[in-house]
Symmetry: C2
Subunit: 223 residues, 2 copies
Amino acid sequence: MADSVLLHFAFDPGSRCARLALGEAKIAVRETPVKPWEDDCPLHGLNPSGMPPVLKVGDLVLCESAAILGWVDDQTEGKLLFTRDDAERAETRRLTGWFERKFTDEVQAVLLHERMEKPLLRLGPPEARALRAGREALKGHLAELEGLTQGRDWLAGRRLGQADLVAAAHLSVLDYFGEIAWATYPALKDWYVRMKCRPCFRSLLGDRLPGQPPVAHYDDLDF
Amino acid sequence: MADSVLLHFAFDPGSRCARLALGEAKIAVRETPVKPWEDDCPLHGLNPSGMPPVLKVGDLVLCESAAILGWVDDQTEGKLLFTRDDAERAETRRLTGWFERKFTDEVQAVLLHERMEKPLLRLGPPEARALRAGREALKGHLAELEGLTQGRDWLAGRRLGQADLVAAAHLSVLDYFGEIAWATYPALKDWYVRMKCRPCFRSLLGDRLPGQPPVAHYDDLDF
C-alpha cells in the first residue's frame, strides 16, 4: 500500500506493536518517526490523545495500536494474529490486555519514564527508588512469562500470534536499556531469540536513541 | 448456554462491559457476584490477575472483558459489536482503548477508589483533593463524548456497537454515585437514555451497593 504512512515513535511499545503486526502481515508502509512531546507534532491533528501510533491508509486514519492491530486482523481475514481455537483466542486477548494495562502501569510507566523520558526531556537523573520498584515489578512479570513459555510453543499456545507481537514490542524496548536479565529466564529467552530472527523485527533492531546506545546484545540475533 | 457462568463484580466497569455485551447478544449466562478483595474469592484460581470478569463456558475460561467481548464477537460472527465500515471499526477500537486506559487511569482509578473502594474496604473518608482531580478529569472526558454524540447517532458512528457498551459500562458506575452532571451534556444524555432503555441494561439498574444507595435518577429510564 504505497500511500500508507505510519507515524510512530521508535521507543513507544504501542508503535512497535504496530510495526511488528504490519511487518508480519507484509503490509508495506512508510514509517515516519514523530516526537509526540513537541508542540508541532503532526499527531496532534490526527489522534485526540496526541499519542502514537497513527496509521494513515488513504483517507482512513487508524489511531492507537488497537485500531491498527484490528485493521491488520481485518486485512488478513482473521488468519494472522489469532488461531481459530477458542482457548487460544481468549488467551491472546487476555495477554494483550495484560500488557496494555498491568505491564504498562507497573513496569513501563516507571522504567521508561526513568530511563527514556527523563534523559530525552531533560527532567533530571533517574530516581533509585522508582527504578527499584519498576525492576521488582518487571521480575514478577518475567517469571509469569517464563512459566508460559516453558509449557507452550508461543505465548498464547501453538502458533505465533498477536500476544507474541505485543509482548515482544514491550520487552524489546526494555531490552534496549539492558533491563532484562535473560539468563534467568531460559524459556522466555528462547522465545525472544525466535521473535528477534523474524523479518518483521529487523527494523526495530536498527532503532537508536540519540546519546543512549543500546545494550551490547540488543541487535545480536544469537545472544 | 445453560452451563455458562459469569463471575463479576457489579461496580467493576469491565464486569459491566461483559454483562452488556452478553445481554445485547442474548447469550444467557448465570451471573455470580464475587468480591475480588476477599482471600477465598473463586477468581483467584481462574484469572492470573485475580480480577473480574471471568466467563466460564463449559471447559472454556475467558478472563478479562477483552476476552469476553472478543468471544461474543466470535459467537455473533462479527456482526454485533462492529459494523463492516473500516472507519467505524477503527473508531470503535480507539474508543475502547481510550476507556480502558485514559479514562480508567484519570477518572475511575481516582473516583471509584474514593467513592467505592474506601467505604467498602473501610479505608477512611474520601480525600477532597483526589475527588477534585478526578472530577476535573471527568469533565474533560464528558466534553469529548458530548462532541462525539452531537455529530453521530452512536459513539463510533451510525450503529450501536462495542464502543457504546464500553462507554455505558463506565459511565453507569459513575452515575450510580451521582458523579455525572447530565444537564451539561444534552447529546450525551440523549445517548445514555437510549442505552438505558435497552433490555441488556436492565440488570445493571438493579445493582445496589450495601450502605450506599444510588442517586435518585439511577434506575429512572426517563430522567
